[in-house]
Symmetry: C2
Subunit: 340 residues, 2 copies
């Protein structure tokens, strides 16, 4: 049943700006045999996330870069096909960080058993996984929204943004999304129920955002940086909080782009900006995941996935993600879901 080889995607070279497909290489490698305590996993869903661009750089950011010729890093959901570890058995569905590959070997301790009764297994890469945890902890621990406040989130139809906005709505806030293009904007407003949405591609960002936020902005959950964030800063209220989750607009830049200096307005308005990485909150994931699972099953929290099939399509899909071409949580499906 287990094939003799599988495919994986390695970093072929470090792109100087926007990555090209040639910066990646699809390789066929021999199937490993699990050693003592090891677990062999067949990957079903492979997550593609903006942070991966940082791993392609020479210099370490908050994590060590992927080496040239090494498999791209990333979260995965898969089926245990062989296990020498007493904690796992064949057929178990597990979440782990196995990277861009069809099969992966794990020492077991970094795998998490997924309860399939909670939600579709792909959500372990999405709303009940890293992006969902990012939304929950960034919004509540750093954003600290209060009922009636205005919460703005950029990349609002993305994996993190869609969850941030819906959670803020559940918490009694007025929620404004920023997204690119009519289709994403309609989804954010009509499907997710945000109070308003602003299309940053429509060419009137400052005016549209101001119109959408008549009472200013109390929490800005920043996924993008750049000119979108420039438009938000002047609207921040006294004591506003800005969870800094990502700056996708900067990920392909070789050196920081220039933008208007934004520190002075922050002084008098007591704005607090705080960078965070979701793993800071890892000890608290389980209870948050239970609460979010309840919200998903009750229908209060929706999620949209964008699923591409086949590992060979991963590089192209990832490049599109950095361009904002995905629509919802981007994943690559590598094979069938295991039977229940």
């Amino acid at each position: 049943m287990i094939p003799k080889s599988y495919r994986q995607v390695v970093l072929a070279r470090r792109p100087p700006g926007e990555p090209a497909e040639s910066d990646f290489r699809v390789e066929e490698v021999a199937m490993p045999v699990p050693g003592t305590n090891e677990v062999l996993v067949r990957v079903v869903y492979m997550s593609l996330d903006p942070y991966m661009r940082g791993r392609m750089r020479e210099q370490a950011s908050y994590a060590k870069p992927v080496g040239i010729g090494e498999v791209m890093e990333g979260g995965t959901v898969g089926e245990v096909v062989q296990s020498n570890n007493p904690a796992f058995k064949a057929g178990d569905v597990v979440e782990g960080r196995l990277g861009w590959r069809e099969y992966g070997l794990s020492p077991g301790h970094n795998l998490r058993l997924i309860d399939r009764t909670l939600a579709p297994i792909s959500t372990a890469n999405g709303i009940l996984g890293m992006p969902g945890m990012t939304a929950w902890f960034g919004l509540y621990e750093i954003g600290q929204p209060k009922p009636g406040e205005t919460v703005v989130v950029s990349a609002a139809s993305g994996a993190v943004g869609q969850t941030v906005g819906q959670l803020a709505k559940i918490s009694g806030c007025r929620v404004v999304g920023i997204a690119g293009g009519a289709k994403k904007c309609a989804f954010v407003k009509d499907e997710l129920g945000f109070d308003a949405v602003v299309d940053y591609k429509a060419g009137r960002l400052d005016a549209d955002l101001q119109a959408a936020c008549p009472n200013g902005i109390d929490v800005y959950f920043d996924n993008v940086g750049g000119t979108v964030t420039d438009a938000v800063i002047p609207l921040l209220n006294f004591w506003a909080r800005v969870p800094l989750c990502g700056s996708i607009s900067a990920y392909n830049a070789e050196k920081p782009e220039m933008g208007p200096r934004l520190l002075w307005p922050m002084v008098g308005r007591r704005v607090r900006m705080q960078g965070f990485i979701v793993s800071d909150f890892a000890p608290f994931f389980d209870p948050a995941r239970r609460r979010m699972g309840d919200l998903v099953r009750s229908g209060l929290l929706k999620y949209k996935e964008d699923i591409v099939e086949g590992i060979e399509r991963a590089p192209r899909a990832f490049i599109g993600l950095l361009r904002g071409e995905n629509f919802g949580k981007l994943q690559v499906k590598l094979g069938p879901e295991p039977g229940k």
Copy 2:
């Protein structure tokens, strides 16, 4: 004993960039007679502070602007010369916000009686006044320094900066000041005892700052913004704190200048930036002032003042302050200190 008139400085027009002396006007006005509960104060020391530039603008920042023809706002230390208020009597020395004038009338409730046994009365405009409180609360409440951490402060010889650095030393930190010119730098290192100082005018800011901070930067107390802050950002450690106290480099600008975008580096390093205004902590000033008074009297906390004489010199001195020409806490002395 009380003259029939006194001088005051009003805002003559709103400067488009760097203020000129002609943006101010010195007026002679009739001495007022205190009404019910009112107190007449002869100003001895008039504080000049960078925040005053914000009050000269049309748009409100965190406080309402000074109107054209209105007296410039500001902190003062003076002697009560006439009082219809039971809380004050002639001869009392008081701190208040009477503005740029030789005499001022107060309803009393916003005057604070100064205990002359604690320290020279001019310190009520300086290390035991607004700038000292700014240093204390910005450093401790927002910067949260821990022993062994590296604390960097810009405008290090200024009213706030000199106090921030000395407090951080007392708290067991390695302290690096950034100041302009050899004289200020020598003062910061030799007189105030900072561990290192960097001259931002020497043309090697990035390299000098890196050399002065071999373990990176844990707290950056920002008084200046602009290119000095640009040099600090890349050196911030994981979980660094940045109290945003002011951005003097931007105060004369009509619109935000451009600078390198700095949000992305903040994400992974979990940098927290927080603007604050000293008055947020007003309910807690008294105990902080007592602690700082103890430190001043014990000689652990030094202060340097830059005192100009005569109200007619205030506009020129204020323009110089925005250029960094002052050396220590800038004040204008309007008349003799009252006899004890």
